[in-house]
Structure formats: structure tokens, C-alpha cells
Subunit: 299 residues, 2 copies
Amino acid sequence: MQADIRIVEVGPRDGLQAEAVTLPASVRAALVDRLVAAGLRAIEVGSFVSERHVPQMAGTAEVLAAARRAPDARFIALVPNLRGVEAALAAGADEVAVFASASESFSRRNINCTVAESLARFAPIVARLDGRLPVRGYVSCAFGCPYEGDVALAAVVRLAERLVEMGCYEVSIADTIGVATPRQAREVAAAVAAAIGADRVALHFHDTRGQALANIHAGIEAGIRSFDASVAGLGGCPFAPGATGNVATEDVVYMLNGMGLSTGIDLPALIAAGAFVSGHLGKGTQSRVARAQAARSVA
Amino acid sequence: MQADIRIVEVGPRDGLQAEAVTLPASVRAALVDRLVAAGLRAIEVGSFVSERHVPQMAGTAEVLAAARRAPDARFIALVPNLRGVEAALAAGADEVAVFASASESFSRRNINCTVAESLARFAPIVARLDGRLPVRGYVSCAFGCPYEGDVALAAVVRLAERLVEMGCYEVSIADTIGVATPRQAREVAAAVAAAIGADRVALHFHDTRGQALANIHAGIEAGIRSFDASVAGLGGCPFAPGATGNVATEDVVYMLNGMGLSTGIDLPALIAAGAFVSGHLGKGTQSRVARAQAARSVA
């Protein structure tokens, strides 16, 4: 049975790469196992990037080797370049993700190239894959840039179109710094959907200012059916204690359940997966649903 | 100029009454001063309830005496009975708030009377006021009850109608335990608005499961223009560390600003008011916007 809403779990990659504590591959694989058991079917398990720059993602090949496969669960690996694709293929990833920024300043400062150059790097990735694995694209800073502030909607739409032309089956429009509010969420989602089709759009909200669920709600109203989320709200900023990062998958699932929209995810099992990884990180969960559940157990 | 959205600030009452630390009246008055300076024009400053049961609200008369008045700012006091009204009148409250529960079980356990009895207690309050002060009503547990679970929408609508008939200019429909999701928020808001008029409906969401902003967004779409919120997310449950209570006013204002909806509230001044009270409570703010702001200042 097809779920009403597709959740792409990004905690093991986008979440853990921003945590101050680096978890060994064995723990990350055990987290992936729990996420699969909870019903998640699209999981970003790691990335093949510079281990020097992102030590939290070292050993992603071991995560892919150790995590148990389920026939319908796809393990996604983020890759920045051709070398990353080779590693992803060798490690048995089911899908790769690529990224580009809607902001020139962010692109230059974060990945040290222009937006055009980042797209040019993407061409050999697609050529090397030659249709063997599906490719998912990210448009980062789509709702605002830490350096430029506002980002032109036209730039977001153009980049999403380019990523689809280059072979992405879906493009995740990301609020990297968590500044979006629902009206903008709906406007951006609608504009991108008009350009590439709503079935190719995913939305990726960071909950830095608590707006993520409201933005997802607005996105659903705009006809979007695919959302990224991070178990336990993994992520945040290591330099800002208490600052939250990705929206917590538990909170998204709770909202969707309440709205009668199916995800195929078992909420108690998901909460348990979040407790598992939070324990290993030695920090409290950022999921409010998980906290409310824990409080109820104590009271 | 009329604001697009009316915010009723409930932090000094609904928020502080649920905090583990009891603040002296002088600090509470200083908080109210800061909220007025930030542009809030409807502030629940305290309640005249049993000091034995709710020690956090002792000295509400002193708060009303000490807080600086602004000609267009209304100081609201919650009153449970005729004695409370006498105290509110003597202390110079601008408005009183009364409450009833949509759930019989909650009514019996929380205020030790049936819903009908709680309405009956309300009649002498209105008679005593005789139109001198506006009266605001609360329907608590309107979205779910900790004892009964689901609450009948018909019961919520009927209670809201009764409160208006008895003289309330506005009825705040409250998700006391923070279980609502956006579809329910819209359904309940629309049903109550159909019965008493959208301009008499306010919505009051606790953010226990992170759903409050999404619910407010849904409420706006249902035509509601009045929302309760609590600076710094004051409230929460003293028995559950980390569990959040009321939605943070800062996060609501950030969302509304982003949606182009005016509130008349100055966000930086509001964040400063939240930092002031959080400091006195010796705990971190629950506002994610305030946290993000603090993180940005450090980074």
C-alpha cells in the first residue's frame, strides 16, 4: 500500500554530520536498522565527503555494509563528486544524493565553487551512474542565505529545473538555515512544483526557529507529498547549544497521523530509534513528541 | 492602526503558574512592563485563585498595582469565582477571564465541579461585574482530555455558545495538553466560528508536541485572528524537564511577520522580555526564535 506522504529520513547523514559527537559506524548502522524496522523506506545513511572536513561521516561504507537491508528500503548516500560516486557504488548504496546551492555566496563559502561549477561537477556523476542508481538533488539555501539574506525564487526554480534535466528523480528544496515561514514555504513549493511537477518536489526544513511543522503543513496544502526529516531532530549547530537543526521525524509523523495522512511509519518504534541515538550522543532528544511521551511515562 | 492578528500574552499567568520557580510580584510586574513596552496590548497578568493551590500566582494584586499602565493595554486577571472578581475589581484589573472545561472528567478533577456547575459559578461573576469589565472565556481541554482522550466537538461548540450567551466578548479554545494537529485545529476553529462568529474566537495552543505553530497556521486559514501565546514559552510541566508548555510568543510573531501579518509587537523587545523572565527563572528560553538569535550572537 502506497503511503500518502513519503518521509526521507536524513538523520544519519544531515543530522549526524552536524552533531558535536562523532558516532562509530557500528552505532550508525544500528540506528539505520532501527529506522528500517520503524518503517522508514528512504534513509540517507551517510556521505562520501572529505573525512577531514566532516569526520562525523567517516566510515559510511561500513554503515552500508553493516546495516540490514529490507527489499523495499533505499539507502541513500550523499556524494559531492565522481570519487564519491565510485565509493557509493562500491559500498552498495541504493541511491545517491547531490547538492547545489541557490545562493552564490553560500556555494563559494561552503563548497568553494560557483553554482554553475557545482552543476558541472554533477554531469560526470550522472554519466558514471548511467541510470544504475536513482539520483536525488538538493537545492540548499532555497529560503534564505546566511550571507546574502533573501534568495531569488527564480534562482531556486531554475536550479530545480536544471537538476531534473540532469537526471534527478526528485529535488529537495531545503531551508538550510531554518528561516522560512508558511507563506514563503507555500510560494516556493508552488513555484517549483509548477516548473518540475509536484511529484518531483520534496521539502526539507530545519526547525531553527520552530517553523518547520507549520511550513510542512503549508507544503502539504501546496500539493507536496515528500518531506525530509531527522529522527530525534538530529542536527542542530555544534556551536549553539540548544539550537535545533532538522525537524524531528517523530513530530512530523505525529502531525501527519493526526491529519489522517499515512506514512507507513510506526511512531513508538521511531521514538525508540530516536532514544537510541540520543543516548549514544549523550544528549536529550529534540523531538517534542518524544519528550512529551517520556514525560508521560514519568508522571 | 489595527493589527492583523491579536496576540493575548498569557505568560505571566498561564505560563508562570506552571513553572517550578515562583517569582515575586515585583519581577512579574517588571515582566509585564517589558511586555507592554514590546507592544503587547492584552496581557493576562495573573489570577485570583487559591494561593495554597497555586502559590506562583500569590500577589497578583501587587503585580497589578506595580505594573505601568498604557492607555490601550489591557491587564487581564483570571478569576474562578465571585471572591476572585472582588479581588480583581479591587486591584484594578481591566478585564477578567473565566474558564470551563469541555471534558467532564477534567472539570471534576481540576476544579472539583461539573461543567454545568462551573458555568453556574460564572453567572454571579457576570452579574457582579454588571458590564464594568469585559469578560473573556476559556474552553479548556477542547482538543483532548488527559483522562477521557477525545472530546466531542459538539461539547466544545455548546460551551463556547454558553460562554458568549453569558457575556464573554471572546472565547479562547484551548488545547490544554498540546495534542491537537492542524486538521483538527481547523475543524474545531471552523465549527466554533460558525456558532459564535470568527471574531469571537481565540485559539490557545500548548506546544507540548511541537504542533502549535502549525495549528495556528491552520487557525489563520480558518479565519481566526486572535491567538494566545506565552513569552519565552513560559509554562511547561514542572514534573517533566524539557517538556514545553505554551507556544512561545516570539515564535508566533516571527511566523506572522514572515507571513506579512501585523501584530504591533516589536520582536527584539519581546525577545528581551523573554530573556529577562528566563533569567529570573534560572532556565533557558523555550522560544526557538530567541535561541536562534542567541546562537547567532555567539557565532
